[in-house]
Subunit: 120 residues, 2 copies
């Protein structure tokens, strides 16, 4: 049985948003940001990952200014249909701090530990 | 310089919640759920992952009824301090559908594709 994907079947927040996790093919979780119906549609149509910027209230075409684009390899939706997981090809660092991943700080024994340095 | 982790420095939603992604040591992203200050503190103190159930408005000690507990290996926070990533040891399937991961549905060429079956 073939099920056509219908983006209206996803569960969005009251603001019309859904969290989207980006993971590279090595398994590294790079970042989590938000999408809405329109940015999800653009991401699926173009293969270029586009988020919704909550601070700017605008499309956020990842890498548009930095060049650090994310190319979609595979899009997944979870059982509750309220979260997306994207396997992406990440050009350069994903984080605005120039680190590969936004999750570069560990919490260990009550102390923050920096796991990676900015790329140069 | 040692930075003591202060949970009040995280960015929570208006409901006092923060998304938490669980990933196993193989790199598989298992699920995303929500925490609040109290469940995060319990998770860090006990090493047993505890979420906040939005539907039940109660502590959700993962695996309490199913036995599919998550043991915390490493807790990470992202650059914006509004998302957590946990490396966990997952006993059994993470998903309530009995699949290893909640992200078992891919969206490919406009069609939903089931990537994994429930464990038996």
């Amino acid at each position: 049985m073939t099920v056509t994907f219908d983006p209206t079947t996803l569960c969005y927040t009251a603001d019309g948003l859904i969290p989207a996790i980006a993971q590279d093919e090595s398994g590294a979780v790079l970042m989590m940001a938000w999408m809405n119906k329109e940015t999800l549609a653009e991401t699926l149509a173009t293969g270029r990952v586009t988020y919704w910027s909550r601070s700017r209230q605008a499309f956020w075409r990842k890498g548009e200014s930095s060049g650090h684009v994310q190319t979609l390899i595979d899009m997944r939706v979870d059982c509750d249909r309220d979260c997306l997981l994207m396997i992406v090809d990440q050009a350069g660092p994903a984080c605005h701090t120039n680190r590969r991943s936004c999750f570069y700080t560990a919490i260990r024994d009550g102390v923050e530990v920096e796991l990676m340095k900015p790329e140069v």
